[in-house]
């Protein structure tokens, strides 16, 4: 099932060392440029040879160092779409797509190509050269060409980076369709958080040639393993903290951020935290609650209540973002509130307010 790889590749001053497996799903390789994402695709496609490891896809062995197997890129039958400059400039759209076919009779070639042209909504452009169609159309042609022979997996190297935002939206939808139509693993390389978030079920965070964290999208966004992952994901409300003491009686760790105490249950972090240790604390903007005045709070919230001032409010169409600073410690929180809740709260810039953090929503990176 799917694709499983173990890759080691050393090139000048850089070492890629990764191991992962995915099913027939869209997996996103996310990270900043130079982290080894594109190299991973080239190794899988056979355009580069790993120094060690293996590449297996749905029961086929593409590469296996110990037994010396190294299938040529031609025999791997993978679809590969690059960021840009994909299409052969000396061929028309139809010729480009047909180039993805192997053998077959003239009639069959014609109908297969026509099917792809329909599926990717390229009618009317068949006889144009790539230089005369738009960026989005080019990437659709590239996808059609890569998929026409029904590849065993689809490799996409920043396929939407060269497109503007409205086209990206359209391409994302197209990719969803592709995933439904072709049941194959899709590996998408991107450094765009939105692409990663909207397209990937499974995300692998690449940092310096290693997979820093891999997992389901929501897991990673809620529980980043390290500060580096949190930063690369652009997560808000990330605080440096220090373990001040352990409350044996209440089974709590007390963490200090700028002198302000935060309380988290010990259960989750058993053995990983001791008094005096520097850690990172994270809470998602939508998990921060703003308390209504005079309202009593549940026990689970009572541990982490802070008073402060609202610095700013921005309207983000479906929700509001409130910037809140605690009176003590001057810690800045970014808070996302759905519009209906926002209206009930009666908030305004400069006003005093209180926030409450559920202990379970606080995530500590040790």
């Amino acid at each position: 099932m799917g694709l499983s790889v173990k890759l080691l590749k050393k090139v000048k001053g850089f070492t890629l060392d990764v191991e992962w497996q995915i099913g027939n799903e869209v997996a996103v390789l996310f990270g900043s440029s130079g982290a080894g994402k594109s190299m991973t695709l080239q190794l899988i496609a056979g355009l580069m040879e790993p120094d060690a490891g293996f590449i297996r896809s749905n029961g086929n062995i593409f590469f296996d160092k110990p037994s010396g197997i190294n299938i040529s890129p031609q025999q791997r039958s993978l679809g590969y779409v690059f960021q840009d400059r994909n299409l052969f400039p000396h061929m028309t759209v139809r010729e480009n797509i047909a180039y993805g076919l192997r053998g077959k009779s003239k009639e069959e070639r014609y109908t297969r190509v026509s099917d792809m042209i329909r599926l990717f909504r390229l009618e009317g452009l068949e006889n144009m050269p790539p230089s005369e169609i738009s960026g989005g159309q080019k990437q659709r042609v590239a996808l059609a060409r890569a998929l026409i022979e029904r590849p065993k997996a689809l490799l996409l190297d920043e396929p939407f980076t060269a497109l503007d935002s409205s086209l990206r939206f359209e391409m994302r939808r197209l990719l969803q369709e592709v995933r439904n139509e072709f049941e194959i693993p899709v590996i998408l390389v991107t450094h765009d958080l939105e692409d990663a978030y909207l397209l990937g079920n499974h995300i692998m965070i690449y940092i310096d040639g290693k997979v820093e964290q891999a997992g389901e999208r929501d897991d990673i966004l809620q529980k980043p393993q390290s500060r580096r992952v949190a930063q690369i994901l652009g997560l808000r409300n990330l605080f440096r903290a220090k373990v001040i003491r352990k409350d044996e009686h209440l089974h709590r760790f007390i963490l200090g951020v700028n002198g302000l105490p935060f309380s988290v249950p010990t259960g989750l972090y058993q053995g990983r935290m001791e008094v005096g240790k520097e850690v990172d604390l994270f809470i998602r903007p939508e998990e921060v609650m703003i308390l209504r005045e005079g309202k009593t709070v549940k026990d689970s919230l009572a541990q982490n209540i802070f008073e402060g001032t609202i610095l700013d409010i921005t309207d983000k169409e479906r929700y509001h973002t409130v910037y809140f600073q605690t009176a003590e410690g001057k810690i800045l929180f970014e808070i996302s509130i759905p519009n209906y809740a926002f209206r009930n709260l009666n908030l305004a810039t400069g006003k005093m307010a209180s926030i409450a953090l559920r202990e379970e929503s606080l995530w500590v990176m040790t």
Binding site: Q42, A45, G46, L47, S72, P73, Q74, Q75, R76, S77, L78, G79, Y80, F82, D84, R85, N86, F88, P89, H90, Y99, G100, R102, S131, R145, A146, E149
Partner: protein, 194 residues
Amino acid sequence: MGVAYLLAMKTFRGKEVLDILFTLPLVLPPTVTGYYLVILFGRNGLIGGILYEWAGWSIMFTWYAAVLASFIVALPLMMKATRAAIESVDRNLINASYTLGHSEFETAIRVTLPLAKRGIVAGAVLSFARAMGEFGATLMIAGNIPGKTDTMPISIYSHASSGDWSKANLMVIFFSLMSGLFLYIANRFTRRIF
């Protein structure tokens, strides 16, 4: 072209040596190139000797020799231009062709060479012009036998040195015009590479 393709696409031991070997005629004085040719193809030469033993014939002082000399001297231009043209083809496109299941040979025929076509044609035109103007090496290996091995540059030399200015003038003007035309054609091809 095969050599140029190898030099452009592959990395192998001795690649630079091969490149230097094929480029030498460009920088060597033509008489030196001609000297090498005489050594190689002369009646006692490495290749010429074998040929003479087998066929009892030598290339020396025939018009074949003039062609050979022109060819060798023009080769570096052709090869350099072809190598540069092939190297300028986007590696992504070649890789795309491989992942689409096309062999290296098929990719060369259907993608690499068509995209390098303009550069190759420009190189061919330039090297043809160079071959036409070949003088030194030709003189060394083919000599100057009127009506047989006297190429145009050689007969211009003969006419000028024997004081036959009108014939020399005519040939010089013709030659200049031809060369100008070739350069124009070569430029047109190199400029419109997309």
